[in-house]
Amino acid sequence: MNANANIPSSTSHYPTATNVQKPETHTLSVLVDNEPGVLARVIGLFSGRGYNIESLTVSETEHAKHQSLITVVTTGTPMVIEQIKNQLDRLVPVHRVVDMTLSGRSIERELAMVKVRGKGDERVEALRLADAFRARVIDATTESFIFEITGKSEKIEQFVALMLPLGLVEVSRTGIVAIARGPDTM
């Protein structure tokens, strides 16, 4: 009852100190009204509350309704992921938040444009590998290619790693977009 009680005080007032859950990566689809500042609200929420953003894509998807779809990949403990979803849902322009990872029935894709500079055998090898990965050549000079590749992030990572010794000089990636399988919509 008083302060002499012999209880170790290694923890704090704050929940993080006692959090023993493992962090997970989740992909969230966030349907929002496309209005000025809406992206700032979403990003500000992440930075203000100390959440991570691994990937972020945003574009207007329904022009008539002025709605945009934001796809954000984030990491956190299950409790934090739940908080992120609830906090996003609380924003006034947010219509829906769907956890694509939790639903377990979603397809995720990413597009990358990969610039490779080289001559001779390396150039031939790059082209051969691109073919194996179903990457398209979208620009070519006598000393460079730009490949366009789509797929899961792992596939892109792998392609980029293979291109590295073959003269990779620049990569531009869209970040992840996701959609649920089957006939149901958001």
Partner: protein
């Protein structure tokens, strides 16, 4: 002009602002003019429906609107200019966000063609206020203004209430457009859930009926839900026979005079409330959010209990503490359903177990954790609040506070039996809140006795609003517990920093009596316990603003207290004889 003829007609953006306020039933607007809002001030000049209250600083305008809102349940309204007007309002907006107070704050902005140009008195108001509002708008076209004005009120007041900012560039204020009251709002995705899930409510009722050591833990959400919610809470607590405690923000929802009331819980809560929270087997949390001032050490918080959490904001659930039965919905709706289900299913509390539980609680109560050593020489701050309570309890009284020791003593020793009578800055802990808040409360309740329980340090932060009170003949009473220290800072320095009172002494204090007189108010000083009753009565009887300098014991600390890093069952009591230095571990010192 009647509302019918005004319902659709041509007018300027500035006129739309005033028309929308009038249509929303706004009677008082707290503000301060400046270049970017002059068209709106011009529109104000030509009408009588909305009364403008000129404050002395924009922070004061927002706190006054908060006091107004909290004491009436209506939306508080603020009008300030661009740049410094908006930035000065930020503290108040953040305060309102933390404590879920509905506000609409209209800010002027430089003309649209100058936005982003670093123009005179320009700031990125929507950028700055984005994280400290529930929502905000920059209005770029006069066509959007009527919809936005009305939606702002809807958003501020519905769901979990909060502040909304509308930033209006000066050219939009001048522009002419068609005003009408909108039938629908731009944000079609905003639908706060008010009705609780009936399966969850059923599960909660089952759990409550089986409880052996139950407790109600209630918060500001009950107050925000309206007077009806407080009534339902009282009925449910009576029907079940469970003990009840509340957070700082929730005081008054349940009458403090009732035997089932255990007093406030948390860092400076009563022993019985905190021990019962720790030992309970079923906790019913109604409109509170497991804030760190309440829980203390998270992993030792009420370890043996099943927890039911009613909250309108889904993000409050499972944020700090995992709960077993979450119920998202408005307190009044959920409490009504709960009560209905309890009665319909003829539920009975376990009488025997509850009797034993109350016996245990009475043992804790007998410890008299709020006891202090009385004195005939100096005024003890607790004694001052007790006398203030005794001498004002039979009147129609509203209390506001600043932040610090005096605030905690007010919460412990001033007893509230009705909701909306207690206005304090809980979440943000804003020193300087109470004086301007009392201005707002007094405007809303001109015949009532409105007292700001203050500290001599806090009150100096927004002292200038006394001038506002004088201007509008608002007879607020500022009751300063003057211990010549930032008392809570001093207490923590004693506890955590070896009594090194770094910068916490209130040096060069003004003579509050002369200060009051210089500002055309009345000053009273009281230094002896024997004079206190007479002085308080004198204060109450004066129909003008009074600054009451109550000189109290400089060394008194606020107890009981859960030290940093400790659990609910490790409280320090005022007369426990425990040395403060031993009470807190090294890890505890890291915390605030």
């Amino acid at each position: 002009m009647t509302k019918e003829t005004a319902s659709t007609r041509e007018m300027t953006g500035a006129e739309m602002v005033i028309q929308a306020l009038a249509d929303q039933g706004v009677k008082h607007l707290f503000g301060y003019p400046g270049g970017a809002v002059l068209p709106i001030y011009d529109a104000l000049f030509a009408q009588k429906e909305v009364r403008h209250i000129l404050v002395r600083h924009e922070q004061g305008a927002v706190h006054a609107a908060e006091g107004y809102a909290r004491s009436t349940g209506k939306v508080g309204c603020v009008l300030v200019t661009s740049g410094p007007g908006a930035t000065n309002a930020v503290t108040g907006l953040t305060d309102a966000l933390c404590d879920s107070i509905p506000l609409v704050c209209i800010t002027g902005q430089v003309p649209t063609h100058l936005i982003g140009n670093d123009a005179f008195q320009e700031c990125d108001t929507v950028g700055i206020t984005r994280p400290c509002t529930k929502h905000n708008y920059l209005v770029k076209r006069v066509e959007d203004l009527p919809r936005i004005l009305h939606e702002a009120f809807h958003i501020a007041a519905s769901g979990r209430p909060g502040p909304v900012v509308i930033d209006i560039p000066k050219d939009v204020q001048f522009a002419t457009g068609t005003y009408s009251v909108p039938k629908e709002f731009p944000h079609t995705g905003y639908h706060p859930k008010v009705k609780g899930d009936s399966a969850a409510i059923k599960a909660a009722v089952e759990l409550m009926a089986r409880a052996k050591k139950p407790i109600f833990y209630t918060g500001g959400g009950v107050i925000n839900s309206g007077k009806h919610a407080s009534q339902l809470l009282r009925e449910l607590v009576k029907t079940t026979g469970f003990p009840i405690t509340s957070t700082l923000m929730g005081l008054g929802a349940f009458p403090a005079a009732d035997p089932q009331w255990m007093g406030m819980l948390g860092m400076h809560g009563t022993l019985e409330a905190n021990m019962a929270m720790h030992d309970c087997d079923v906790m019913v949390c109604v409109g509170a959010r497991f804030d760190d001032r309440i829980t203390g050490r998270i992993d030792a918080f009420s370890p043996g209990s099943k927890k039911i959490h009613i909250d309108i904001d889904p993000s409050s659930i499972n944020k700090n503490i995992h709960v077993d039965i979450p119920i998202v919905g408005d307190c009044a709706h959920v409490l009504e359903d709960m009560l209905h289900m309890w009665k319909a299913e003829k539920k009975q509390a376990d009488k025997k177990a509850l009797g034993d539980w109350w016996k245990q609680i009475d043992k804790w109560r007998a410890r008299k954790s709020l006891a202090y050593r009385p004195s005939n020489e100096v005024i003890k701050p607790q004694y001052a609040i007790q006398r203030l309570f005794e001498l004002t309890k039979d009147r129609d009284t509203y209390i506001t506070t600043e932040v610090g020791q005096h605030q905690m003593w007010a919460a412990q020793f001033y007893h509230f039996n009705e909701p909306n009578r207690w206005m304090t800055s809980g979440g943000l802990g804003t020193m300087g809140y109470g004086l301007p808040a009392s201005v707002g409360v007094q405007l809303a309740h001109p015949k009532s006795l409105v007292i700001d329980i203050a500290g001599e340090a806090s009150v100096q932060m927004t002292m200038q609003e006394l001038s506002t009170a004088v201007q509008y003949r608002l007879p607020i009473k500022i009751f300063i517990l003057n211990n010549s220290y930032m008392g809570m800072v001093r207490q923590w320095q004693e506890l955590l920093h070896g009594s090194r009172y770094s910068e916490s002494y209130s040096e060069a204090l003004p003579d509050f009596v002369k200060l009051a007189e210089a500002m055309h108010a009345v000053g009273i000083r009281c230094e002896k316990p024997g004079d206190l009753d007479h002085a308080i009565k004198e204060m109450i009887d004066i129909d003008r603003p009074v600054l009451f300098d109550c000189v109290v014991d400089q060394k008194e600390n606020c107890f009981p207290m859960i030290p940093s890093g400790k659990a609910h069952n490790e409280m320090i009591l005022g007369d426990s004889g425990v040395s403060l230095d031993d009470a807190i571990t090294e890890e505890g010192k890291m915390l605030v």
